[in-house]
């Protein structure tokens, strides 16, 4: 049997597929999409809301707290938070503008792959950079602010706290990489494989 003969059989098999009436289709069209791009859009929405919330909290803390070093810390957090919100907003806008589904299949795969990789790269970079940045900054401020209570920081335990902080940062970067890979890794590899099938 060749492909031409299969055509008849294929169409016969399909005639047994349950046809949906218009009301069933309307119901389907009111559900949520589960495509990867729509999932990213939803993630970005939540991440932006969380960033706005934390930035506002940091801003309030900067106004209310009297310790100079913590004030500086919160101010920097607000600035980084605002930059973060701008990045997330732009990425979200870029993804919303993309109309990949009506493109030719090859171009759709290329664009979808690019969007997912872009999101993963930005998310990973932010996750990887934020933890060590804030830990180093916190230690730096602590060293130069003698008004802070010495409950946590003493000459003897500071060394170990720095070691713990570095270990935490490395673990954070590692887990962040693993997490992003578990969410999108297989998808990216599958799309790359599909793209290579065009060669």
């Amino acid at each position: 049997m060749d492909l031409d003969n299969l055509k008849i059989q294929f169409n016969k098999e399909l005639s047994s597929a349950k046809t949906k009436n218009e009301q069933m289709l309307v119901d389907i069209l009111q559900r949520d999409s589960i495509s990867v791009i729509d999932k990213i859009k939803r993630s970005l929405k939540w991440e932006t809301m969380l960033a706005i919330f934390l930035t506002i909290c940091a801003g309030i803390a900067a106004v209310l707290i009297s310790y100079p070093s913590i004030k500086i810390y919160c101010d920097v957090f607000v600035m980084i938070g605002l930059a973060f919100i701008v990045v997330l907003y732009n990425l979200s806008k870029k993804i919303s503008r993309s109309k990949t589904n009506t493109l030719p299949v090859k171009q759709n795969i290329q664009e979808t792959l690019q969007l997912i990789k872009n999101y993963v790269r930005i998310s990973y970079s932010i996750n990887a950079a934020l933890v060590p940045t804030f830990l180093i900054f916190a230690f730096y401020l602590r060293v130069y602010d003698d008004s802070l209570p010495t409950l946590l920081f003493t000459a003897t335990n500071s060394f170990w706290l720095i070691i713990y902080a570095i270990a935490l940062a490395v673990l954070g970067i590692f887990l962040s990489k693993k997490y992003m890979d578990s969410l999108y890794g297989k998808h990216i590899r599958k799309l790359e494989e599909n793209l290579s099938n065009f060669e």
Binding site: M1, L3, L14, E22, L25, L29, I34, T100, N108, I109
Partner: protein, 165 residues
């Protein structure tokens, strides 16, 4: 957002295209339903871009294939079309005849193809010309011809191996 009546009517009329794509890319009924829903949703979201420059059926085919090829419900649950003799002849108590056995073999061989090759096979058996296939896939008509020849040879080779067993 309430779906547009014109769109729903068009979708109802051309839903066979979506069924075909679901049948080709998903093995299990639940997964086919999920893919059907996703293709319908993506078509609805993109409907404002449909400019009547091409036929609705060709446009829907493109959206359906794009959605199916990039669809991953859960990464470890993505299944390929693997149709066994048992599934094809599940409603028959008698031994399958030669034609049925050949059909089952063809489905199995097609299920082993990559997602892009499956799209080519689908469009081919749905009587699209090489130029139309090229337009949907975004490659040249010559490339389509080359790839179709390779697919046909591969299926033929697998057929020969199967019948020599």
């Amino acid at each position: 957002m309430q779906p547009d009546k014109v769109f729903v009517e068009l979708l109802a009329k051309h839903q066979n295209i979506i069924h075909k794509v679901c049948f080709m890319y998903m093995q299990h009924a639940n997964d086919r339903e999920d893919l059907f829903q996703e293709i319908s949703l993506q078509a609805w979201k993109s409907f404002s871009n449909f400019k009547n420059q091409s036929q609705f059926s060709t446009w829907l085919y493109r959206v359906a294939l794009n959605t199916a090829i990039t669809f991953f419900k859960k990464e470890n649950r993505k299944r390929q079309l693997i149709i066994t003799n048992d599934e094809v002849f599940s409603d028959q108590s008698e031994e399958p005849n030669l034609a049925e056995e050949q059909t089952a073999f063809m489905y199995k061989a097609i299920s082993n193809l990559g997602d892009v090759d499956k799209a080519l096979v689908m469009l081919y058996i749905d009587d699209y010309s090489y130029n139309e296939i090229a337009e949907i896939l975004g490659i040249s008509a010559n490339h389509v011809a080359v790839k179709m020849n390779r697919i046909k040879s591969r299926l033929k080779e697998e057929g020969l191996k199967y019948y020599q067993m």
